[in-house]
């Protein structure tokens, strides 16, 4: 993605996508802080409510509030309006701690991305969007239809591949996903493809046999190509509440998750779970999904995210 050129547009679209969140959170922070001259417990309680209803999660909120209270007690924070900035700084620092964008390193052809997540989070759509980004960067892309389970999952991926202009390696419904991934890798190597993205079936992180299945996919690719998968991307749905943290933990435990994507931030879900995840998991958030269209994928940028969230 050419960020420079797109800067204004990118930021605006991100803000548009987040405007619901933004308005809701900011309006309420301002409602609470405006006109109050002293920071009292009521005000802090209300603030806590706002953060919790943003899905930030009670534990992270507690931690955030402790910091704010500490600053209040030390008289570093005296004016209620400043709370807003203090929170923004705090959230920004959590979000930026482990941040790193995803670059396709095509020295290791193919740069292999394994995409995983629970059911319906937006894996397939995100893959299409990523493929689109890589193609626009001049890379050749191949997709592997390793969701051999869900009805018409392959067809779905094929339609997207058609739209973005790349090929799909597929097997029959019910085939072994590792076999699809293996074939796709061989095919990508033979053709000198730059980027291979593997779509997998949605699976709940609590199901051991399905987690074994994904481990196997990862292992087989690693056996065939050194360092592969180069990126194991966990796709999380921003509508999800605190369960997203459990998903991240369990997937990380099973396979080495190296990046996260957060989809559906265009809805009213506030995406606050990002903060909790970033704090607990220390995995970079690569992308955010802000719509169903092919270019509705943004690189996650903590600064812009925090700004868009907290700017008036």
């Amino acid at each position: 993605m050419n960020e420079k050129k797109e800067k204004g547009g990118f930021f605006k679209r991100l803000k548009d996508g987040l405007s619901k969140t933004h308005k809701a959170v900011i309006k309420r922070v301002d409602e609470i802080t405006c006109g109050k001259r002293v920071i009292n417990d009521d005000l802090l309680d209300n603030l806590e409510e706002i953060l919790i209803t943003s899905d930030i999660g009670a534990v992270t909120v507690q931690r955030l509030m402790e910091k704010i209270r500490w600053k209040v007690n030390r008289k570093e924070l005296k004016i209620p309006e400043k709370i807003h900035n203090a929170l923004k700084d705090e959230i920004f620092s959590i979000l930026s701690n482990h941040q790193q964008t995803l670059q396709a390193d095509t020295l290791q052809k193919p740069f292999t991305i394994l995409t995983v997540g629970v059911n319906g989070t937006g894996k397939t759509t995100t893959i299409a969007k990523m493929a689109n980004i890589f193609i626009s960067q001049g890379h050749s892309v191949l997709l592997a239809a390793a969701d051999t389970f869900r009805a018409a999952a392959t067809e779905q991926l094929e339609i997207w591949a058609d739209r973005v202009g790349c090929k799909v390696i597929k097997h029959r419904q019910g085939a072994d996903p590792s076999a699809v991934a293996f074939d796709a890798l061989k095919s990508a190597q033979a053709k000198g493809i730059d980027v291979l993205i593997i779509d997998t079936a949605g699976r709940l992180h609590t199901k051991a046999p399905l987690m074994d299945e994904i481990k196997k996919v990862s292992r087989i690719i690693g056996r065939e190509l050194d360092g592969a998968p180069h990126e194991t991307l966990l796709v999380l749905d921003a509508t999800t509440g605190q369960n997203a943290i459990s998903q991240a933990k369990m997937f990380k435990q099973a396979i080495n998750i190296s990046g996260l994507a957060l989809t559906k931030l265009d809805g009213t879900a506030k995406g606050g779970v990002i903060v909790g995840i970033s704090e607990t998991m220390q995995i970079p958030i690569r992308y955010i999904g802000v719509g169903e269209k092919i270019d509705d994928l943004r690189e996650f940028n903590p600064k812009e995210f925090a700004d868009a969230l907290f700017e008036n």
Partner: protein, 503 residues
């Protein structure tokens, strides 16, 4: 998620350990734990607030009751039990009353419209409902009204195909037109129920919400169900309220309850919209749908397992008479490895382990955490199979040399033997305690004499002490057709186990 919830509740309960009465101070501490755990479980903020308020009022009432009441049974329970009972009943009240009915038009076809956010499970659920209804001798027609998501129509067609239920679709037509035409088609072809699978959309997407309103206005569906992912966060309420405002929902369906997210959304949605929860979905295969029961879900939220659901499963696979005798014996602490083995075998007959584990309170503890592995059972089974009869009946004789023999006989390590024995001992202790705590009297018939609970709730349920053997109920003997049903259920379960997907 449930772990979070149940930990909170357990912690709350522990706060009463050794106390003799509920005081405002210890209620407050316990309520703080519960508040936090409910929030961590994504129960809506304002719902949590009300819940805490109501539970507090009721708990404080109990102090008065315990003090002034001379009914001896009231004095027998501990404040902790009272407190958890109050939480449980409050949850049940919040999620009830039960209304799992589907409305049918006096003049067919009846219409069921499924709506919801992207990826929440509408299409899968459409298939499940169609399957559910055709078992009830209906002749459903599935309608592919999602023209947006790539291959959504094909997805429904594949589903319809595998269930042998016809799917109506039209290329180059708008969703409202498709729906209207489908109903005409159903009328002329004699389908009595039409299930509309619509595209996922955000509640704030005005034009797509308008489209739903148009479909509803044209087809006047007898049922509009919002499909909701059980993992949804604080946004659940906002989304549900908006869908309800625009479409006047008849109820909700909660999906993906087979994961570790439970309760939060159900509680919030029911409380705020007042609309009933109709179905719970617990897996990707098409038989994973059940009618909603608040009691089951409340138990799950409390973290003590879906005991009622478990009992229903159990009833189908065990020999009732024997179970009764066994339960009585086990509760006296005479629980052997043979019983353990038998339980494991019954559990295996009940179907995929993941389902069951969520329902059994002790089992999740036994297997460590949420990710429970079918192989754990296989391991325990193989170890017990390598034991002598004497060892099975009296596991205390198993010392180091026996452990080594058992280990080598089953291809395991002595450590694994020790681990299994440890688990077994924990279970045995739990059983014995449970026997002491009065469940035994219930089993021998004194249902209404449950100390302190006035026959309302089941203390075993509430306290989470129910183990599979103990939770067996004793229904009338099975008829031949029922037996046949069970047989086929077992077969299906066996098949399901083979296919790792069907959990």
């Amino acid at each position: 998620m449930l772990e979070v919830l149940s930990n909170g509740f357990n912690k709350a309960k522990d706060r009463f350990a050794g106390r003799v009465e509920l005081t405002e101070a210890n209620i407050d501490d316990a309520l703080k734990d519960i508040r936090l755990s409910l929030l961590e479980a994504d129960v809506n903020f304002s719902v949590v607030k009300d819940f805490i308020h109501d539970v507090k009022e009721k708990a404080l009432g109990v102090i008065v009751d315990t003090r002034v009441s001379h009914k001896s049974q009231k004095l027998k329970t501990t404040p902790g039990e009272h407190f958890i009972n109050i939480c449980h009943q409050e949850l049940v009240t919040l999620m009830g009353p039960v209304d799992v009915d589907i409305s049918f038009a006096s003049k067919p076809p009846s219409t069921i419209m499924l709506i919801g956010l992207q990826g929440c499970g509408k299409t899968t659920t459409a298939g499940k409902i169609a399957g559910f209804l055709s078992k009830k001798n209906k002749t459903p027609l599935l309608v592919a009204a999602d023209t947006y998501r790539p291959a959504a129509v094909e997805q429904l067609q594949v589903i319809g195909n595998s269930l042998s239920i016809p799917v109506f679709s039209e290329k180059e037509m708008s969703p409202p037109a498709i729906c209207s035409k489908a109903i005409e088609h159903a009328r002329s072809t004699g389908h009595d129920v039409v299930i509309l699978d619509t595209a996922g959309r955000l509640a704030i997407d005005d034009s797509l919400m308008n489209e739903l309103e148009t479909i509803a206005a044209n087809t006047r569906p007898d049922n509009i169900f919002l499909v909701c992912d059980a993992m949804i966060g604080q946004d659940a309420v906002k989304t549900a309220v908006e869908f309800d405002r625009r479409l006047d929902l008849s109820g909700f369906i909660l999906t993906k309850l087979d994961g570790d997210a439970r309760g939060g959304a159900a509680l919030s949605i029911k409380k705020i919209t007042g609309k009933p929860i109709k179905f719970l979905c617990t897996g990707e295969s098409f038989d994973r749908i059940e009618e909603f029961r608040p009691d089951g879900l409340a138990s799950r939220i409390l973290g003590f397992g879906d005991v009622v659901g478990l009992m229903q499963d159990f009833e189908q696979v065990i020999d009732e008479k024997k179970a009764e005798k066994d339960a009585a014996r086990m509760l006296k602490g005479q629980f052997t490895l043979l019983d353990f083995l038998e339980q494991i075998q019954s559990i295996k007959k009940m179907g995929p382990l993941q389902d069951i584990v969520e329902k059994i309170p002790f089992f999740s503890q036994m297997a460590g955490n949420v990710a429970v592995d079918e192989r754990e059972l296989v391991k325990i089974e193989s170890l017990i199979n390598s034991m002598t009869h004497k060892e099975r009946v009296n596991p205390d004789v198993i010392k180091e040399s026996r452990k080594k023999r058992i280990a080598s006989g089953s291809g395991r390590t002595p450590r694994e033997v020790s681990e299994v024995l440890k688990k077994f001992n924990t279970m045995r202790k739990m059983m014995k305690n449970m026997g002491k705590s009065g469940l035994l009297s219930k089993i021998s018939g004194g249902l209404s004499n449950i100390p302190g609970l006035g026959g309302g709730a089941d203390p075993g349920d509430i306290m989470g002490n129910n183990l599979p053997a103990a939770s067996r109920k004793f229904p009338k003997p099975l008829s031949t057709s029922e037996k046949r049903k069970i047989k086929s259920k077992r077969k299906k379960a066996k098949k399901a186990r083979k296919n790792s997907r069907k959990k």
